[in-house]
Amino acid sequence: MKVGVVVFPGSNCDRDMYHVLKDVFKTDTKYYWHEKPLPKNIDAIILPGGFSYGDRLRAGAIAANSPVIKDVQKMADKGIPILGVCNGFQILVESGLLPGVLLKNRSLNFMCRWTNLVVENNKTPFSNQFEIGQKIPIPIANGEGRYYADDETLQKLKKYNQIVFRYVESVNGSSNRIAGVCNEDGNVVGMMPHPERAVEYEINPTDNNASTLIFESMLTKMGVYN
């Protein structure tokens, strides 16, 4: 079972993600540079956080045209689990793999703080170990994290159960307090908060179990866990 962490110029959470997958969850993990094709035998793909291309034009807009995105799209069509975290989420919306868009936070500030999420959909490969309504204490760190979708898209998101995580309280002005969404098939998930920064006791001594379930959900879907 192999997980790929895609690296763009300016990714800076790639090593945190790799460390968590490799050292905490003992998963075969490899980095894949965004200009190289992805191998076919990959079981899950993670687009990590950071500032691809220095957020020039818009966060994620330039990376969305990287060669690797065509392969990510093909794997999304095959139903392979794909998770975009923070800048990874921005790249997924800019490439059209997920609906909506991420705007500058309402405060216009870069926000780096702990938040609480509530699980709205526990059918995705990254949320299947949660109860609906379960809370996740987790940090955010972004400047462009305000999820926006028009009313028609929001209706569709509700209809097809595509809202995966919401903030318990409004933190940045996101539509319907949305923190994470999935595609219609549910295998592509994007979220602004950073689960890789919340799974270890050393940096999250109060409750690291909740974020752990995001990775355990993926490993369950991959058949590593029962």
Binding site: A61, N65, L103, K104, R106, S107, L108, A149, D150
Partner: protein, 86 residues
């Protein structure tokens, strides 16, 4: 072929909040002597220099660039074009 400068203005669609514009209006302009100003909207402008046969061809090419490469995000933004002889 002639050289043209195409100015592309990217701005929010109506209904999308513009906190930067609101702050400039409420916390700078309206706090001064300029009470007749009622709205400020921020935008981003890109200036493309391009060689094309006429103004129309220059605009059409840059429109294609903007649409194909998602220079603007059509979910929240709209674009307008001004073509000048460079």
């Amino acid at each position: 072929m002639t050289s043209f400068e195409v100015h592309v203005t990217i701005e929010n669609k109506p209904g999308i909040s513009d906190p930067e514009g609101e702050t400039i209006l409420n916390d700078l302009v309206l706090k001064g002597a300029y009470k007749t100003v009622s709205k400020i909207m921020t935008a981003k402008m890109l200036k493309f220099t391009v060689q094309e046969k006429d103004q129309r061809a220059a605009q059409s090419l840059i429109q294609e660039v903007c649409d194909e490469l998602r220079i603007y995000n059509p979910v929240v933004s709209k674009v307008s074009f001004d073509v000048l002889k460079a």
